[in-house]
């Protein structure tokens, strides 16, 4: 197999993964703010979010396998261990971390019925860590990180996630009963402020 093919596939799959992952995060945030239009019903955000997450994993696997198999990179499977590679230890380490976090998030989502909503939600919060880690990995170790097209992709991805994040922070509807529940629980117990 041509070395160039593997090399370009690694870089391409990496860029596609970043775009997909950013879309996943944006959709997840849209679901959180209960975004809805006439043509985009509520459940679509979460449904496409999940589908794209699976697709992200596919491209990530492609990205990782081609990088490891490529004789030019001298990368072994130790690259999958965070900071286990001697080549660009920090940046590859971040990539490994992002990948493993994503695996955990996707696995727990597929098994959500069996682990319960609370455990699932706790692990899902790791998504807020995995995306920036992936971005730094790309910028730090990406061969194309200085190329204009990659910079444009980076700016669009970071911008989209940034907007969605701000939207979530200002407009996410809280559990409508959050305060009520706390008040009622206080009145029904001998805790503080009876």
């Amino acid at each position: 197999m041509s070395d160039q093919l593997l090399w370009y596939t690694t870089r391409g799959a990496g860029a596609v993964s970043l775009v997909l992952l950013s879309a996943v995060v944006v959709l997840g945030l849209l679901a959180r703010v209960r975004f809805e239009t006439h043509g985009w019903p509520r459940f679509l955000s979460a449904a496409v979010h999940g589908d794209l997450a699976l697709m992200t994993l596919v491209f990530l696997v492609l990205h990782i396998v081609t990088a490891v198999v490529d004789p030019f990179t001298h990368l072994g499977l130790t690259a999958l261990v965070p900071f286990g590679s001697s080549y660009r230890t920090l940046w590859l380490g971040l990539g490994a971390i992002a990948f493993e976090l994503l695996l955990a998030i996707v696995a727990t989502s597929l098994l959500r019925r069996y682990i319960g909503a609370r455990v699932w939600r706790g692990i899902h919060w790791l998504a807020y860590a995995s995306w920036p880690v992936a971005v730094f990995h790309g910028i730090g170790t990406g061969t194309d990180s200085t190329a204009l097209w990659m910079i444009v992709i980076d700016v669009v991805c970071v911008g989209a996630v940034g907007v969605a994040l701000v939207w979530r922070m200002v407009a996410a509807p809280p559990d409508p009963l959050a305060d009520e529940r706390r008040l009622a629980a206080e009145r029904a117990s001998f805790g503080a402020g009876q």
Partner: protein, 84 residues
């Protein structure tokens, strides 16, 4: 969304299962009403009103999607006899 039918859909009943709900877990997201409007509609405050009858066979796949799509896992499928 084309499939906005009310009132049951197909005629064949499934093995007498119905939708059960944990009312404390439910936060009124309303995704369920989108996914299975044959069985669920929302009240004035966004909380589900669920038809208590057996789920018709044709609607069952949508009911299952609603169960797995609930953000708080408040919905479940349960045998018809055992409600409360």
């Amino acid at each position: 969304m084309q499939r906005r039918t009310r009132g049951g859909g197909g005629g064949v009943m499934s093995d007498r299962v119905t939708l059960g709900i944990d009312r404390i877990k439910c936060d009124g997201h309303g995704v369920c009403a989108d996914l299975v409007p044959e069985l669920i509609e929302l009240d004035d405050w966004g909380y589900p009103i669920i038809r208590p009858d057996a789920i018709p066979k044709s609607v069952l796949p949508h009911a299952k999607r609603a169960v797995s799509g609930c953000p708080t896992l408040a919905l479940r499928l349960q045998a018809l006899a055992s409600h409360r």
